[in-house]
Amino acid sequence: MFRIFLTLLFLLPTFATAEEVVLGLSKDNVAITTSFDGSEILIFGAVKREAPIDQSSPLEVVITVAGPSEPVVVRRKENVFGIWVNTDAVEVDAAPSFYAVATTGPIDQVLSNTEDLRQKITIDNAIRSVGAPANITDADSFTDAVIRIKQSQGLYQTLEGQVALDQQTLFRTSIDMPADLTEGDYATRIFLTREGQIVGDYETSIAVQKVGLERFLFNMSREQPVWYGLMSLAIAIAAGWGASAVFRIFRAG
């Protein structure tokens, strides 16, 4: 028993350091300013190893970027008396506000199903839906709707083959983030796989937050709604008055 423990102890560090990720990000925070119109993030890095490259099977890289998860209510419209009305609703317990998966090749080839399930890598597995109300029999179609709608908004992206890998060592990809991002820490994970099995991983996060005026107005509207309301009225009245005054001067002069 003791001997097995010793050999394990001996093996462990060499296994862990076999192939390791060294990562770079073009930026580790995204600032939502007044002129924010989406952002492109370059994720690049290298595979560090002590031993020569294992040539038995190709190395693959999977990169995921996930925005903060939040519960989402999905509603379905039905035709009631000729009008399309929201009827059934299902609450999806946790759906990432943003999710991108980029890989070096087709997902089913670079990643085994088991690893995908365990690490929740593809979008289908990243969404968690516990139970739908009893009267709804097709709960899956609601989860599918989340994916479809978010995909059409560019918030969910599957980028198969979009990670470039050179010499089994250097990898890079770029991820486009649309303008309507939710604030929070975007968990960024990099997995190295061989024959569908994960052989190395690395995790970091990208902070997405409103800054400056955006930050100030948003915080104020939540924390001091009364003052925010009064301020909105005052600013609007001043702007309206100002604009008409300027116009009058313009006309007179």
Partner: protein
Amino acid sequence: MQIYLPIAEVSVNAFLLLGLGGMVGILSGMFGVGGGFLMTPLLFFIGIPPAVAVATEANQIVASSFSGVLAHFRRKTVDLKMGTVLLVGGLTGAALGVVVFNYLKSLGQVDLLVKLCYVVFLGIIGSLMFVESVNAIRKARGATAGAAPKRRQRTWVHAMPMKMRFRTSGLYISVIPPLIVGVVVGILSAIMGVGGGFIMVPAMIYLLGMPTKVVVGTSLFQIIFVTGFTTMLHATTNYTVDVVLAVLLLVGGVIGAQIGTRIGVKMKAEQLRVLLALMVLVVCGKLALDLLLQPSELYSLGAAGGH
């Protein structure tokens, strides 16, 4: 130039917003209407969430009515007493409206409510205006026989209790009808993000029998306070007032209104009204189609559990 709206949390083109404000401003200057009932649906069309559009529009209306009411005060065409009675009703209505709005928001039906209200009201008003102005044009073209002068009749409005004297309007009527008018307008202001002038002005003339010259000033006076109150209610319960959006629309709107007033002077009143009626019907038709045709995406996403 894209601009990120902090509360609506969408990125839109600043010039598009200025342009929309300007366009609706021109129309409101030409026709002498507030324009809220056109602006709010237009905001839906460019992708602003309906709850934000309604709350922000209320904020914008306060500001755009402000310089108008000052001008009316200078001309002494505001019936303060009548305005106050309408206002009491209006504030009650606005509070009721926000309660209904928030309740339906929790059920996920608020978009439907807002859009249905628009289809119904724009449909009714647009059709009435269209018929009335086409008749007016036809009459103007036909025999120039003077229309029979309207007699102010004693209706059920004059038979109600709790009478009050409104000196500026030269009226001695019960306070109940103006209170009811106020409540209805307040509810509409909270649900639809409109000032409600398009309902209040006809109601004041035809129902209460107020002289036309004090109608606009008095309704503006009421609108400022009711929409101001609505803005505060939305800001404190829903957090949906976007001040950046409001200011952009406003600047465009004020400039547009100045241009519109000048165009309006050069056109005939009946022609103006036909145009306005047609435009109201077009917006109404577009909203109605959205409700009646099968949407390409049956599902929609919303935040869970309210806030």
